[in-house]
């Protein structure tokens, strides 16, 4: 009987444990492989391992070079085209590249790959907070010497010198290389609705309110039903365009060496009250708490909402998509500036850059470096933007022509926009995108995600969204938000 019970207990333990642990992943193999442990020395307090070579990768022969890449955005749009993409890399660089592009859950794939000791030569990322964590986890290679000695990457016309600051670790070492130019988010308005209702582009918060109210009440889509909303958002970073009116930046802001979160200060109270008013008056899309960006975009594309805040690149995409659907459409999306803050200041959000890093256990770091240089030159940029020659486009002399496949792919194979000023786009940008990008370049700044932000964000989002939805008084929400952030030592002031 005792044996039976023991066996039952062990069985239950094993079953439950197995199932539970399947969510953790990570078989725990030492992933450092033959390379020096990236952050294991502990003496530097940083994870960037030395590359050991400052030589320019372009000086080395490409013959027999192999490269294994894990990427979220770069490559073909289908598995078949991915194979063609690999062949094109081989043709253009001589590198025998393997491109792995998971269909979903990219961040989890990266984590489990690194944790289980899989060896990639290049991994794409898009979150600076995650990059900092990878540095701490000893994952990334120090690329400072490589970038400085590279004729391509050290050229300020290829990548402006100041931009590299984004990809430096806390000790000032460059730990990644840009994959593309990342723009910013901003309010995107239905310009055709503004014109139809004889409204001016909003500048101040009051202007915004009047426009949003008109979009709700004056039937801008002309279907005779009150079924439009003024504003839709998805997540708190999408309200930056309005929080600008109070001069509030999302995430952390360092003030006299102390961590503050502007959205958790008294100054944010009137802004949450403003949103609560929008909610109460039915101006705000009621699903804004549960929206993902796809739903928000769909509302905009289906004439349900007049303003959303989203990426500059999508201004062009919206216009292009509607034009493809109906060549005679009156739809016109336009990126506009955030609401003016104190003294006329305008705050906009610049997105974290997309980047490549070389894992510390990479087996072919030289091939990776050669690819990074190639990726920022004319052939690499053409491959990452318009795609594969004779698949996505044809070329006759200096004239490029998109194929039907190329048109479907919207000139985006991971690099819709790039830094290199020496490479001119072969096609004009999609309508409205240049103006939107100009705004982002002028006003947008990066957000600061310090360690602990993921915990802080949960608290901020919880109370801010409740206040915006009118579920909680704004003053009470900010007070509770601050109390919790202090209690968990997530802010200093």
């Amino acid at each position: 009987m005792t044996m039976k019970k023991t066996w039952a207990a062990l069985s239950a333990l094993t079953l439950a444990g197995t199932l539970v642990l399947s969510a953790c992943g990570g078989s725990g193999q030492n992933a450092a492989g033959g390379n020096a442990s990236a952050g294991g020395n502990g003496s530097t307090g940083s994870g960037a391992s030395s590359s050991g070579s400052g030589a320019s990768a372009s000086d080395k022969p490409a013959a027999d070079m192999k490269l294994r890449i894990l990427t979220a955005n770069v490559g073909g749009k289908t598995p078949e085209e991915n194979k063609q993409f690999e062949a094109e890399i081989k043709k253009l660089t001589g590198i025998d590249a393997t491109l792995e592009r998971p269909a979903s859950d990219y961040d989890q794939k990266v984590l489990t790959a690194l944790g289980s000791g899989e060896k990639y030569d290049l991994i794409e990322g898009s979150d600076l907070g995650k990059l900092a964590e990878f540095v701490d986890q000893g994952v990334v290679t120090d690329l400072t010497d490589f970038v400085k000695s590279s004729k391509v990457l050290s050229d300020p016309s290829v990548i402006p010198t100041s931009e590299w600051d984004q990809l430096k670790d806390k000790d000032g070492r460059i730990v990644a290389v840009f994959s593309k130019f990342q723009g910013g988010t901003m309010p995107i308005v239905r310009k055709d609705w503004l014109d139809k209702l004889h409204l001016q582009e909003p500048k101040t918060l009051d202007d915004y309110y009047n426009v949003l109210k008109a979009f709700k009440e004056q039937d801008p889509d002309g279907d005779g039903k009150a079924d439009t909303y003024g504003l839709s958002t998805s997540g708190l970073y999408d309200i930056q365009g309005f929080m600008s009116a109070a001069g509030l930046k999302y995430r952390y802001v360092m003030k006299d060496g102390k961590r503050t979160i502007p959205y958790a200060t008294e100054a944010a109270v009137p802004m949450y009250q403003w949103f609560a008013k929008l909610t109460k008056e039915g101006i705000m899309d009621p699903n804004f708490i549960t929206n993902d960006t796809g739903k928000m975009r769909n509302l905009f594309l289906t004439d349900r909402v007049g303003i959303i805040t989203y990426w500059d690149a999508w201004v062009g995409m919206f216009n292009s998509l509607k034009k493809q659907e109906d060549p005679n459409t009156s739809f016109q999306a336009e990126g506009i500036t955030s609401a003016e803050g104190p003294g006329g200041t305008i705050l906009m959000r610049r997105g974290d850059p997309d980047y490549w890093f070389i894992p510390a256990n990479a087996e072919h770091p030289d091939a990776a470096k050669k690819f990074l240089e190639f990726w920022n030159t004319q052939p690499g940029i053409m491959l990452g933007s318009i795609g594969i020659e004779d698949v996505d486009y044809t070329k006759s002399g200096d004239t490029y022509t998109l194929t039907d496949t190329g048109k479907q792919h919207n000139m985006d194979h991971g690099v819709p926009f790039w830094y290199n000023q020496n490479v001119k786009p072969p096609f004009p940008g999609l309508p409205g995108v240049q103006e939107a990008q100009d705004l982002a370049k002028k006003y947008a700044t990066l957000e600061l995600a310090l360690p602990g932000w993921s915990d802080a964000e949960k608290i901020v989002q919880n109370y801010a969204l409740k206040a915006m939805a009118g579920q909680m008084d704004a003053e009470e929400a900010v007070k509770k938000m601050r109390d919790e952030l202090f209690a968990k030592k997530l802010i200093d002031e």
Binding site: K4, A8, A9, A12, L13, T14, L15, A16, G17, T18, L19, V20, L21, S22, A23, C24, G25, G26, S27, G28, N30, A31, A32, S37, A38, G39, G40, G42, G47, D107, Q108, L111, L114, G115, K130, E133, F134, D136, Q137, G138, V139, D285, P286, N287, I289, T290, P359, A360, N361, S454, D455, K458, Q461, N462, L465, K466, A469, Q471, K488
Partner: protein, 291 residues
């Protein structure tokens, strides 16, 4: 030796199964246990840190909140998810028209076949305050304003509980019906001869005869209550998270988002231990060994 020769081929046939469990069940379990005692980094040294990961988890208020949420949501799913299909199965058993019984079973069973991604997407649409069917009906019935079910913390736990019960209702119902079908008809005949009413037949014949099936289903469901994840992952949002984030969500957050693998492993071992404890309690309470 004689026994070994006699049953040798059977033991050989067991080898792949044993190897499978060793590789995919026991090995990860042991490695997970090891990880829970390490300052686990993705690359480089992984020093052992004793019980500090366990201590960090125990002192983390997020873990405590997740534990409470898990017991409330999981416990409710266990109880309601046990009682509701039992009632439905007993009711269906009383239905004489076979076609209706089969149709009802099929309709009840379909949600079980769908993944939480589909179920979640469907209910997000149905419960939407903007043209969602549920709210359209409620407004038609006289409600002033649509209810934002998925964004209202007051509804959050109920949504999780009721959807989980609804999804698995058909599966559990079929198990109960199978149990009812296996009851010896002569028992009912004897009860009828003794003058038992329909309710008395249910109470004194069906339920006692069904007790073994009920114990098995209850125990199986108990094993799962601390592992709720998919529906929470899909249906939660920042305003409902404090009410619905469960232990597996905490583990996921620590491991996959914050990259604190050691802490996540420690948290997952708490789940293992709690599951073990719960299972033993349920076995003892239900006298499972007497099944």
């Amino acid at each position: 030796m004689r026994t070994l020769r006699k049953y040798g081929p059977l033991y050989v046939m067991m080898v792949p199964v044993v190897v499978y469990f060793l590789v995919y069940a026991y090995y990860p379990l042991v490695r997970g246990l090891q990880t829970s005692f390490q300052d686990y980094r993705l690359m480089g040294d992984r020093p052992y840190v004793g019980w500090s990961n366990y201590s960090a988890v125990l002192h983390d208020t997020s873990f405590q909140e997740a534990l409470v949420n898990t017991f409330i949501i999981g416990g409710s799913i266990l109880l309601i998810g046990f009682a509701a299909p039992l009632v439905v199965a007993l009711s269906l058993n009383e239905v004489l028209q076979a076609w209706y019984k089969k149709l009802a079973q099929m309709v009840l069973y379909i949600p079980h076949l769908l993944s939480w991604v589909v179920i979640g997407g469907m209910w997000i649409f149905l419960l939407s305050p903007d043209n969602g069917l549920v709210n359209l009906l409620l407004v038609k019935a006289g409600l002033d304003q649509p209810v934002n079910f998925l964004a209202d913390p007051g509804w959050a736990r109920w949504i999780m509980i009721l959807l989980a019960v609804w999804k698995d209702m058909g599966y559990n119902c079929i198990l109960f019906l199978a149990g009812i079908m296996s009851i010896n008809p002569s028992l009912y005949e004897a009860a009828r001869m003794d003058g038992a009413s329909r309710w008395q037949q249910v109470r004194f014949v069906t339920l006692p005869q069904l007790s073994s099936t009920m114990k098995v289903i209850f125990l199986l469901n108990t094993l799962g209550i601390l592992r709720i994840f998919d529906e929470v992952f899909i249906l939660r949002n920042p305003t409902t998270a404090p009410k619905v984030d469960v232990l597996m969500m905490y583990t996921f957050q620590k491991g996959m988002v914050d990259i604190q693998i050691g802490t996540a492993a420690a948290a997952s071992f708490f789940v293992v231990l709690l599951t073990l404890a719960l299972t033993l309690v349920v076995r003892w309470v239900t006298r499972f060994d007497e099944v």
